[in-house]
């Protein structure tokens, strides 16, 4: 068990910078998820921690020691790969014990560790099988078992669930969380799936174009995104971004969304945004769950407007409605019994207490 620290870590491939100076502190026992679109540098970062990629600049520390030039086998890490990477000619037990056998552990201890890991992962019955006799989910368990038996300082997961079908993915996600609760090993987990990131992580690191956009707990990222990228990446369906501007009307600050729609800001928001130049091009960031059907008793700060729905998507527990606001496509979530229909007019309510205001040019959440 150990903490991991990255100090201004850079990875250059010829003239392309894949990772551009990352600073990250991962506490002992912590479960950190690196998330971002493909090509954002998250896998490269993980592979640099593993020692599979040289770092071009900066320092990586595991347990306080700089490991820049330490080969992977001496970093005391274990890694689970997207495509499992099981040794096809070895049984499950041999796969799991390979690392221990290379280090000449006593046979009794190897057996004990393998048995314990197999029990933890519920693969005791499969111990004598070859990988090709296993299903995808079972292979992924074996890959995790191979990591657990080593009892390493750090677990590294490289998109371990991407090859599984949707149902199994949810199941294995819970499995990984359970395993972490039991073994408490410091974990760095890479995924492009924001749901996985939100559900697994103690803290999520959102990466984009080789840089860290924001680090925070899942709730922080969801409710207090720092940039447009984070706001749009975390949450599904994604946050709406509606062009708007601020205007003063009779001493109150108003948010104008279109020629015909303008709402007074709730007092708390008005105070926060009052200093902004009125000429700035702004974006209203609003999650779909804050755009609902209108009803009789609306809380203060919730404003209604009429629109015509383009498309509706009944999801069962809710219905997603899509419509245009001055040409900007917008998504809302309404009650399945609210009577939303394709092409029908509907009165919707916008909860401005949960709004975000972004600078359109810089993408910074204000």
């Amino acid at each position: 068990m150990a903490d991991v620290a990255l100090r201004k870590v850079v990875k250059r491939y010829d003239d392309v910078e894949a990772v551009r100076g990352i600073d990250l502190d991962i506490a002992d026992h912590e479960f950190i998820v690196l998330v971002g679109p493909s090509g954002c540098g998250k896998s490269t970062t993980l592979r640099m921690i593993a020692g599979l990629e040289d770092i071009s600049d900066g320092d990586i520390m595991i347990g306080g020691d700089v490991v820049n030039d330490v080969p992977p086998k001496d970093r005391d890490i274990a890694m689970v790969f997207q495509n499992y990477a099981l040794y096809p000619h070895m049984t499950v037990a041999e796969n799991m014990s390979f690392g221990l056998r290379l280090k000449h552990y006593p046979k009794a201890e190897i057996k004990a560790r393998v048995t314990e890991a197999a029990r933890l992962l519920d693969i005791t019955d499969l111990i004598d099988r070859k990988p090709k006799q296993l299903s995808g989910g079972q292979r992924q368990r074996v890959a995790m078992g191979r990591a657990i038996v080593r009892n390493p300082k750090v677990f590294l997961f490289d998109e371990p669930l991407s090859n599984l079908d949707a149902k199994l993915r949810v199941q294995m996600r819970i499995e990984i969380k359970k395993v972490h609760q039991k073994v408490r090993t410091t974990t760095v987990y890479v995924t492009h799936d924001q749901v996985e990131a939100m559900t697994l992580a103690d803290r999520v690191v959102v990466m984009n174009k080789g840089r860290i956009e924001q680090i925070g707990t899942p709730n922080e990222l969801y409710h207090k995104p720092a940039t447009r990228f984070v706001a749009g990446f975390i949450g599904s369906p994604a946050m709406n971004f509606i062009p708007c501007r601020l205007e003063d009307v009779g001493g109150t600050l108003q948010l104008r969304l279109s020629d015909r729609i303008a709402f007074p800001l709730p007092p708390a928001r008005a105070a926060r945004y009052s200093a902004l130049p009125r000429t700035d091009k702004l974006l209203l960031g609003l999650r779909p769950e804050h755009l609902t059907e209108s009803h009789a008793h609306l809380a203060p700060g919730v404003e209604t407007f009429d629109t015509v729905l383009d498309v509706t998507e009944p999801m069962g527990m809710e219905t997603l409605v899509y419509f245009g606001l001055d040409g900007t496509p917008v998504c809302g979530r309404v009650d399945p019994n609210a009577g939303a229909k394709d092409g029908a007019p509907m009165r919707l309510a916008m909860d401005l207490n949960n709004m975000h205001l972004l600078n359109e040019e810089t993408g910074v959440v204000l």
């Binding site: 593993a50 086998k73 890694m79 099981l86 040794y87 096809p88």
Partner: protein
């Protein structure tokens, strides 16, 4: 309206283009036609050899039907198998082929691993270069090779020419490039994550090669072994050039040198010798083909 048009067109299309199963049936018929054609083409010479080997010299030279044995005899087999000369050729061939296979594997497997996996400066060019050396025909190489070995012999005083063991130095120039090339292909098909997993598990390069790559690429290894053995066993030009004394000859050269005297061809024994000579590769093929099954990597990664 449009539905009616489709209904009308439906049956006609079927007749015109045929169904999938009809296409498949025709494909099968053509496959069988050509397979049978090739089988006849390639199996006729060995059959002729078997027939001739069972005839006495008198029957071979008599004007009877060459495709039938009227007085079958094993005398050719008995004579060859009791002749020290023939057994000597057989022994020389065996020892040369065996050592060459071992030497080839010891060189080309690590070389292929290095070229396929340990990305170093110039490794791609080197891999192509290895293959290019295989493309130079031995009929161009034997004179310079002869000169080189003669020079080595002069400089060191070690007798190399006209000794069977000189072939141990020469055959690998044929087998190593091609086997390396085959193995590069096999190693390249092993997923990168497999060696990364091994490296993280604490394996050195050598351990990754011996404990992961060789077992996983076993079909490729067997293909390369078969190739190296066949090339060494059947090589004719080099032993013809480099060895001349009867006791130093290998089988292909030995048979043609000793059984053809001037313009007298001992056809019965030549055919018998060729058949006996073809036996070891056949036996090795039969044994190793069982292991030569693709798909050993199944289960390593997402299937």
């Amino acid at each position: 309206m449009s539905t009616m048009a489709i209904d009308k067109a439906g049956p006609r299309r079927k007749v015109k283009y045929g169904s999938m199963s009809r296409d498949r049936a025709w494909a099968l018929r053509w496959s069988y036609f050509f397979l049978v054609l090739f089988a006849i083409f390639f199996l006729t010479p060995p059959l002729y050899m078997v027939i001739t080997s069972l005839k006495s010299s008198a029957e071979i030279s008599a004007a009877t039907n060459p495709w039938w044995v009227f007085h079958p005899t094993l005398s050719n087999y008995v004579e060859l198998l009791t002749s020290n000369q023939f057994l000597r050729f057989f022994w020389n061939s065996s020892i040369v082929s065996l050592v060459v296979v071992i030497v080839t594997m010891l060189i080309s497997v690590p070389a292929a691993f290095a070229l396929a996996r340990m990305k170093f400066w110039g490794s791609a060019t080197l891999a192509t270069g290895v293959f290019l050396t295989y493309l130079v025909p031995d009929s161009l190489l034997f004179i310079p090779l002869f000169k080189m070995l003669a020079l080595v012999q002069d400089l060191t005083g070690i007798t190399l020419l006209n000794r069977w063991y000189v072939l141990l130095f020469i055959y690998p120039t044929l087998t190593v490039p091609f086997c390396t090339w085959i193995m590069i292909g096999y190693f390249a098909s092993i997923p990168k994550e497999l060696d990364e997993a091994a490296i993280i598990d604490g394996a050195s390069w050598l351990q990754t090669l011996t404990r992961i790559f060789i077992p996983v690429a076993l079909p490729g290894l067997i293909a390369a072994t078969i190739f190296a053995f066949t090339v060494s066993w059947a090589q004719f030009l080099y032993p013809l050039v480099f060895t001349t004394s009867i006791d130093q000859l290998v089988l292909p050269v030995g048979i043609t040198t000793t059984l053809i005297k001037g313009d007298v061809f001992n056809w019965g024994q030549i055919m018998t010798g060729a058949l006996l000579g073809a036996a070891p590769p056949l036996i090795i093929y039969a044994f190793l083909m069982d292991y030569y099954i693709a798909g050993l990597t199944a289960g390593a990664t997402k299937g």
